[in-house]
Amino acid sequence: MKNDIILSGVGGQGILSIAAIIGLAAVANNIFLKQSEVHGMSQRGGDVQSHLRLSDKPVSSDLIPYGKADLIISVEPMESLRYLPWLSDEGWLITNSNPFINIPDYPSLNEILEEIEKIENHVIIDADGIAKEAGSTRSGNIVILGAASPYIDMPFASLENAVKELFGRKGNQIVEANLKALRAGRECSVK
C-alpha cells in the first residue's frame, strides 16, 4: 500500500488540519507516514502545500518525487493546478471549486475549471457550499477531505475517529459539525 498525497491551498485555509487528520488515522492503522509542511512566511496568504506520504513500508524522502503523487487534494482551484508535475498518470485531483482571490491577476474561474477537467481523474465540488449546508461554514477543508476519502487506503471510520481526536478539545458541537462535513464530502464523491 502506498498513498502519496499533495495537499494544496492558500495560507490559512486549513490544509494542515487535513494533514493532521490523515496523520492521526495513519498512526492508528500502524501505517508509516511522513508529512512535510510549510510554516513561516508563506502562511501569510501565500500558496502553501504539504506532502503527505503513507505506506506499509518505511518512507524515505519527506518530499514526493515528481510524477508519483496518487492524489492532489486542494482547497482552492487554481492551487490544485500548481502541483500537476507531481501527479501520476493514474492520480486523482480533488478540489474545491471556490476561488480564493487575493491577487490582482487571478485568472478566470471558468478557464481554471477547464484546465482541471483536462485531468482524467478529477472531482470538483463546492466545498464551501456543502460546509454551509452541514452547518459549519469554516469546515470546507474537512468537506474536501471527505470527498478525497474514497481514494485514501484507510477505513473511513479511522478518519472519523481522527476528526474526533483533533477537534475533541474544542467541544462536542465542533466535533459533530466537522463529522457532518466529512460525511457530506464523502457522499459527493461516492455518488
Partner: protein, 534 residues
Amino acid sequence: MKRVLLLGDEAIAQAALDAGLSGMYAYPGTPSTEIMEFIQSSKEGSEGNVHREWSSNEKTAMEAALGMSYAGKRAMVAMKHVGLNVAADGFINSAITGVNGGLIVVSADDPSMHSSQNEQDSRFYGKFAMVPCFEPSNQQEAYDMVFDAFEVSEKFKLPVLFRITTRMAHSRASINLRTTLPQKKLLLPADPLQFVLLPAIARKKYRLLLSSYESLRYENLISKYNFFKDGNKRDLGVIACGISYNYFLENAGESSNDFPVLKISAYPFPKELIKEITGRCKAILILEEGAPVLEEAIRGILDDGIKIYGRLDGTVPRDGELNPAIVAKALGLPVKYGHDVPTLVKTRPPSFCNGCGHADMFNSLNEAIKPYGTGHVFSDIGCYTLGALPPFKAINSCVDMGASVTMAIGASDAGLFPSVSVIGDSTFTHSGMTGLLDAVVKNSSVTIIISDNSTTGMTGGQKSQATGRLEQICEGMGVSRAHIRVITPLRKNNAENVHIMQEEFEYKGVSVVIASRECIQTAAKRRRSENSNE
C-alpha cells in the same frame, strides 16, 4: 513502547524533555520555532518546571543556556541559522570554556530560503567552534540523537551543535519514545576558573579544545551515526549527509544495495571513513543539504584524486535545497514529470492579512514620505518586510535583525534627510535598542517607526518582550519625551498619522513613532481562547 506523531522540531523537543532537560532557551525563527512552542505546551515542561520562556534574542538565549549548564543542569538553546550569527560570540567561546551540564545548540538552516535572508550552512560553525555536530537524517534519528548529544556534551565537556534543515524541522513522522531520564541536580563546576576566559586561562583551555576535537573523531557516540555500506557498483559510490540520505534511498529504491554508500550524520569523523569509499570506487557523488562543506574538504586544493561529483562541479546545483529529482539526476536516473503547470496559474506571494495594522502604517508612511522622494526608508525582519512588495513598495532595506535603525543612522551621517527606520516591536527589543542608543548619544537625525503589533507575528504570534514597555524603553534610552509619539494605525486616523510622521521627519534629532495596534491573528486567537474559557 509509546509511538507519537511529531514534527522534526517536536521530536527534538520531546527528546530533550525525555533526556532530563532543565532549561529551554530560544528566540522564534523559522524553521526552529516549534521546538520551544512544544516544550511550552508540554505536560513534562510544566510538571518538571522546565525553564521555557522566550529570550530577547539568540545571544541572550545562548548565554542563559550556558548559565544553566554552568549550574550543572541540561540545557538546550534553539534558533534559526542566522540566529547563530547573533549568538556566535557566546557559542564560539562556550567551546573554550566548555560546559558543565549537557548543552545542545540547535540551529535550523533554511536552504532555498523559504523564510530567510540567506541559506548559510551551520556545519561551518561546528568546525569553526570545534564542537561535535549532529545532523539527523530522519525524525526518529533526531529523537535518539538528542540523548547521545547530551552524553557527548557531558563526556567531553563541550557544547554540541545540532544542525537541522527545513524539511527535517517541518516534516512529521511517528516516533518511538524512550524511557525518560530525571533532571540533573544543581552542581557547580569542579574548577571555579573553568568559565573565566582570561588570556592565560583561555590559552590553556584552547589547547585542550584542540586535542578534544581530535579525540571526538573516534568517539562511538558520534561515529555510530556514520556508516559505510558496500555495494556491487565500482563506477560510482555515494556520500550522503543528513537528510540527503533519504533522497538517495528514495531514488535507489530496490537497487540501493548496488551503490556503495557512506552515510554521514555526525562530525567530526576519522579520515579513514572517507577512504573506505574512495578506495573502492572510481568516482563518488557527494550529496549535502546546504553548502558543499564536506565536498570542499574532500576535494582539497589539489583536487587530483578520484573523480568527485557534487555541488562544486555542477552535478548538483550550487544553491538551494535538495529534492528527489535533483538527486535522481545526479545519480543518472530518469525523472518523469506529471503534467505541466498550465500557464494561467499565477504566483501568489505572501501578503498582509486583511485588516493588518502594518498595512495602515505603510499607507500613512508612503503619504508622509512622498514629498521627500524615494529611498528614505530602512526596514527590518518581520511581517512588515512585506511592505517591500506592491502595492506598498515602501521600504528600501531588509538585512538583519535591527539593521534598519543603524543603517538609518549611517545614511543620516552621510547626509540623507529624512532617514527613517521601520522596525517591529519584537525586532526592536531583539537588536534595535542598542542602535537607538547610538542615535541618542550622537543625536542623529533619524525617525524610528516601531510598528508595534504586540507579538512576534511572522513566526506565528509568540510573546514579544516589547509589549507594554516601548515608551519607557525609548525614554530610558534618552529619546526626548516630546518626540516619542504613539499613533494607532487605522485608516480613519490616516490624516493625523501622516501629519505626526512628517512633524517627526522634520525634527533634527532622534524621534520615535510607535504605531501600535495588536496583530489581527493574535487578537483573533486571544478572543477564541477567551470565548472557550467562558
